[in-house]
């Protein structure tokens, strides 16, 4: 097909829209791709070069040590040390070498370098070397040489292995699920009831309650940590139960998530067509029946989108879990366990990036599972035209 024809069929404005969406998506994805690539590189590579160089296999300069003077053979008047600069299992192509750290690529591979004092050194492309001197070698350690090696691109799964096999990670994974699932379901259940009552049931003080709930959204979570924990401690002491428990953290997460949940769901539920609800009332349905049979199915998109929110927030949370669940090895959630892997000083990019992709798996599953309902719900509204 002629390109001009197909362009006319798509239309220039649409083409521009599509192109800009594509460009924005690519820009948006670059950091993620960077993290993904980094997670497959080892710590040395990460420190030495950026992730965008990972695919080209750049020349790396490295240091190697020649054989020790004690391994020298005598050949006529000369003493010779020979071998390979690569350790066993290593390979690569030497481009250049040098004997001074300030000039690591002084000599071409294969070239015979005169080092003075009657010493000659040749390092070939395959890594084999011949080091001769017209007198015995002295010293104990082998001579340090510097190589420029063309290394092919290399990737490793070691980072993932380190993270996945670290001690206690499985327990923390289970802990995270134990925290996140009820902490998502409880607030949604309660706030759906509350949202219905606040939008369709007439009672005095309704507006005031709504205003209070909206006001609670702005209360920063950090402010309530100490009073809440103190309350838990007192209740714990009173009944002789531990103050740090899953029930505690569920309640905490539910309480922190509920003002926003009620606000969002109320707005959605209040927007449902009045006729449906009123006709149900006329047919003799109680509030509970209306809620279960009409409101819940109709507000599935809102429920689904809020549960994605809440699940992400509880899954990624570190602070609330540390405070209300504790910091012991068997109480750590996944974020806590991965954070502990980074060590006291942090800065381990290889661990950080691999952990990021491991933690992301569960939220992605949740997202795609609920995404289906989200889209169906929206479509259901659009065809009704109402």
């Amino acid at each position: 097909m002629n390109p001009a024809v197909s362009l006319r069929r798509i239309g220039l404005p649409r083409l521009i829209v599509h192109l800009s969406v594509l460009v924005i998506c690519i820009i948006w994805l670059i950091p993620t791709i960077g993290i993904l690539v980094t997670s497959f590189r080892d710590a040395g590579q990460i420190a030495a070069s950026g992730w965008w160089t990972a695919f080209t296999g750049a020349a790396e300069t490295s240091a190697a040590r020649l054989g020790e003077p004690s391994t020298a053979r005598q050949e006529g008047a000369n003493y010779v040390i020979s071998g390979s600069v690569f350790e066993q299992g290593q390979s690569g192509a030497v481009r250049a070498f040098g004997t001074r750290v300030a000039a690591p690529t002084e000599f071409e591979a294969g070239q015979a370098a005169d080092l003075g004092d009657g010493e000659m050194l040749t390092i070939n492309e395959d890594g084999s070397y011949v080091y001769t001197k017209n007198a015995p070698f002295d010293g104990e350690r082998g001579k340090r040489v510097y190589l420029s090696v063309a290394a092919p691109p290399s990737f490793t799964l070691d980072n993932y292995r380190t993270v996945l096999t670290s001690q206690g990670i499985g327990q923390s994974f289970v802990n995270s699920l134990t925290v996140a699932i009820p902490a998502t379901i409880i607030p949604i259940l309660i706030s759906a009831f509350a949202a219905y009552a606040l939008s369709w049931m007439e009672f005095p003080g309704r507006a005031l309650i709504i205003a209070m709930v909206v006001g609670l959204i702005v209360v920063p979570l950090q402010m309530s940590l100490i009073p809440l924990l103190r309350m838990y401690n007192e209740i714990g002491n009173l009944f002789g139960v531990p103050s740090r428990s899953y029930a505690g953290i569920w309640l905490a997460h539910s309480a922190f998530g509920m003002p926003l949940a009620i606000y969002l769901l109320r707005n959605y539920i209040a927007g449902l067509p009045r006729e449906i609800i009123e006709s149900a009332r006329v047919d003799g349905a109680s509030d509970f029946e209306i809620f279960v049979k009409i409101i819940l199915p109709l507000s599935f998109p809102a429920l689904a989108s809020f549960s994605i929110f809440q699940f992400l927030w509880t899954w990624n949370d570190l602070l609330v879990a540390m405070v209300f669940l504790g910091t012991g090895k068997d109480q750590l959630v996944l974020t806590g366990a991965l954070n502990a892997l980074l060590g006291s000083m942090g800065g381990k990019w290889e661990i950080l990036t691999a952990s990021a992709f491991i933690t992301i798996v569960v939220p992605i599953i949740v997202f795609f599972a609920l995404q289906r309902y989200l889209v169906r719900g929206l479509l259901a509204g659009s065809v009704k035209g109402g």
Binding site: V101, G170, L229, E234, L318, M322, G346
Partner: protein, 453 residues
């Protein structure tokens, strides 16, 4: 597909992991470097505490946590106490939350005496008593100094001894690669004058002498505070240093401004620092030492505390591939002696119990120190611990400098109020390297300090 594999691996690890938790790293009685008698004596003296619980909370995570747990295992094995250590990224905030809410651990391990003093004033710490203070005074190198950093005002306004020091960090160090020095024919400098001459020599030879990185996320700037403190101790008397810490002399006093300018001699010299002055505040302190090992080297010298080898490339052998020298003093100021700047972690009892008291007793045994010494990243000023137990010569050399120090001073930024030592001082140093002059920066920090009162 991914998830089932995941959970399978995870469960397998949980099952395997719990079995191997409480093994002792070095079998008792085996290695002559260790003082096993102290272990047996401690065991005999604390036999009646079996089955009690002890919770400890501190700053160490990752490898450090494994190391501390290896020490704790000896305590647990000796007493039958079930001691459990935990940590958190925000341990400074968490310990405040926990003490205020009334569910503190038995023992809090805190590297900032300023924070401990705060907790002590609010009445959250249990005094350790005069006998522990006397013990530290007699058995620690520069013990007088250590006691001072563990003594705070209690809730009743009276001074008491609260913090027991265990594990020290040594800060007055310059790291270098001996082989690079050898090749270029450089000598380790003995005086500050020689160090400056060496830096000039490196520039002349076409190299860059220093790697300085101040970047540290939200804490950007702290490595510069170590520099200024070291320079303070090399240009002023220890008494002036103490007055500076307590704000008896102002931050914009000529003595302090002078020390900041001493740091500027290195960090603000375009030819002295790798990447130029602009790179100083943007380079992460964890990446900065890697410049020493570049081929060709990005720099020849790096000033950093004793923890830094964990950021050297893997397989770096301390002593041969990398070594350190004491940041020298001015030959023109011999009256200042050889001051040592350091830091340390303090153990304080936040919830008293016989087990907590027993743990403090345990810290007084040589074996508690030696077990960690024989592994890595641990220094102790305790004279009773066998220096041969150190895992390598570099650590041993640092340990000896600590036990023999004439003047020991704690990291000033850890002693100052949090808003200054972990706030204005950091940002001030970033401003200074960014182009402001020392006097303006010091005045700004003093203003912040005045604002606290």
């Amino acid at each position: 597909m991914k998830t089932p594999f995941w959970i399978g691996t995870a469960l397998a690890v949980v099952l395997a992991g719990s079995a191997a938790a409480q093994e002792l790293k070095f079998a008792p009685g085996q290695d002559a470097r260790f003082n096993w008698k102290s272990y047996e004596d401690f065991k005999a003296a604390n036999a009646n505490l079996k089955g009690q619980n002890l919770t400890l909370f501190g700053p160490w995570r990752g490898e450090d946590e494994v190391l501390f747990n290896s020490v704790l295992a000896y305590f647990n094995a000796a007493t039958g106490i079930n001691g459990k250590y935990s940590s958190s990224e925000n341990y400074e905030q968490q310990i405040v939350i926990d003490t205020q809410a009334g569910s503190p651990p038995n023992i809090a391990i805190i590297p900032q005496p300023g924070l401990l003093a705060d907790l002590a004033t609010k009445g959250f710490l249990t005094p350790l008593g005069q006998e522990n203070a006397d013990w530290v005074k007699q058995n620690y190198g520069a013990g007088e100094g250590w006691i001072r950093y563990g003594t705070y005002k209690g809730k009743d306004g009276k001074e008491a001894y609260f913090g027991f020091p265990f594990k020290a960090d040594f800060k007055s160090m310059v790291w270098y690669v001996p082989e690079n020095f050898e090749e270029a024919g450089y000598e380790v400098p003995k005086t500050m004058e020689e160090l400056i001459k060496l830096s000039d020599q490196i520039v002349e030879d076409g190299g860059v002498p220093w790697c300085i990185g101040l970047g540290s996320g939200g804490a950007t700037g702290w490595p510069a505070t170590d520099w200024v403190e070291d320079m303070m101790l090399r240009t002023q008397t220890p008494e002036t240093y103490d007055k500076w810490v307590s704000n008896e002399i102002k931050f914009d006093d000529p003595a302090v401004v002078g020390a900041i300018e001493e740091f500027g001699k290195f960090a603000k010299n375009e030819k002295y620092v790798s990447g130029g002055v602009a790179a100083v505040s943007s380079t992460d302190f964890r990446d900065s030492p890697k410049g020493l090992f570049g081929i060709p080297p990005k720099c020849y010298l790096h000033h950093q505390a004793s923890f830094v080898p964990s950021f050297f490339p893997p397989d770096t052998k301390l002593g041969t591939d990398a070594d350190f020298f004491y940041l020298p003093t001015y030959a023109s100021k011999p009256e200042l002696g050889t001051p040592v700047l350091g830091a340390g972690t303090m153990f304080a009892i936040t919830k008293d119990s016989p087990a907590a008291k027993a743990f403090i007793e345990f810290l007084k045994t040589p074996i508690a120190h030696e077990v960690w010494m024989a592994q890595s990243s641990f220094l102790t000023p305790f004279k009773g611990a066998n220096p041969d137990a150190y895992a390598n010569d570099v650590m041993k050399k640092q340990g000896e400098l600590l036990t023999t120090a004439t003047t020991f001073r704690f990291d000033a930024s850890d002693l100052m109020p949090g808003k200054i030592g972990a706030g204005a001082f950091w940002t001030g140093m970033v401003d200074y390297v960014g182009g402001k002059d020392a006097k303006t920066v010091a005045t700004d920090i003093q203003k912040a300090w005045d604002g606290l009162k």
